[in-house]
Amino acid sequence: MPFEPVILFFLLGVIAGLARSDLKIPAVLYESLSIFLLLAIGLKGGVELARQSLSELLVPALVVVAIGALLPLIAFPVLQRLGKLSRADAASVAAHYGSVSVVTFAVGAAYLANLGQDYEGYMVVFLVLLEFPALMIGVWLAKRGQGGSNMGKVLHEVFAGKSIVLLVGGLLIGWMAGADGLKPLDNVFFDLFKGLLAIFLLEMGLVAAGRIGDLKRAGAFLLGFAVAMPLFAGALGALTASLIGLSVGGAALLATLYASASYIAAPAAMRIAVPEANPALSIGAALGITFPFNLVIGIPTYYWLASRLEGVV
């Protein structure tokens, strides 16, 4: 399995965090880098989208979203019945795993670029589309039959949330300006992408190391879930990709998206809409286990799976 150097930055962060280094990435640098990454991913997707007939995207997008929406619906009863989590906790964790992680996606794309493996440029559209349905479903699962679901607030929180604004904003700007119009911006948004992703991963490593404490409270079931769920979701993603005829690279990325757990949009939305859920559980699992698992083991596995399935389906 080939080797993706940006992951080393994540590991450095984890080690520094565990060694209680005084290395701290300033919160403002974290925010600045995440603004950059979200915008850049959006712009890149928009440029690709401009080369694409939108109408052809409609059916695949519907399929991807519909199958993706199964993920929280499958996760919820597992978490509630097998995991004995409270309804709110089960719903919140399900929402995190149903939604997607932008950084996991970026590492997946870097992994493919490293292999010289192409993928459909409009995968970013799927990234955007997959971000929020699971959050709605999570809120609905938590509040079913209770009234006062706060759904309006969640909708605003998600759609006016910075990750959607920057991804969709970048997508639109890229789409309107096209590759030529954005050329003078390439020095920043394309050339710096991977280096800044590396610094961001260093920070994520520090943050993930800080979640170790949460994992103790999470219990063995949740730890297992945090590994099993991405594998299951990744397999579903690879199958869905075959169904809609994606390339091997596209299939690996869709598997990565399904397998990834959100730790930007989902925690923010759940904190507002399902406050009785314990954020330590969902964040501990998503960031403490699933994120590193996907980086190191998951992505190569989903790629392998995608290559296998290609001939078959």
Binding site: A27, E31, V207, Y263, A268, R271, I283
Partner: protein
């Protein structure tokens, strides 16, 4: 001295950043005429909140107001947020100039 003071209550709320906007809106609704907010870190019942990433940031909100308003806000915060959110709040007596502002 030209300055003439009035007693007012200073309500300080330390809570997770994710609810800052709601706490401020609630306070205004209950009669506060202003507030001051600044970034904070900290630790308490809900563990360490070191501000290293967005979900672990705290905010420190100060509201100068009449004692009755401070009571109303504190009671509301207790009812609405104490169970589910990292939050601490306390009151102290201070002397203000221009009491009509508060």
């Amino acid at each position: 001295m030209a300055a003439s003071y009035t007693r007012r209550t200073l309500l300080t709320v330390v809570c997770e950043s994710s609810i800052e906007a709601r706490v401020v809106a609630d306070a205004k609704h209950l009669g506060a005429h202003g507030y001051t907010a600044s970034e904070a870190r900290g630790g308490g019942q809900h563990g360490e909140r070191d501000g290293g990433w967005p979900m672990s940031g705290n905010v420190r909100i100060e509201i100068l107001c009449e004692a009755a308003v401070a009571d109303a806000i504190a009671a509301h915060l207790q009812k609405t947020y104490f169970a589910a959110y990292a939050m601490v709040c306390y009151l102290s007596d201070v002397s203000v100039l221009r009491s009509d502002k508060f």
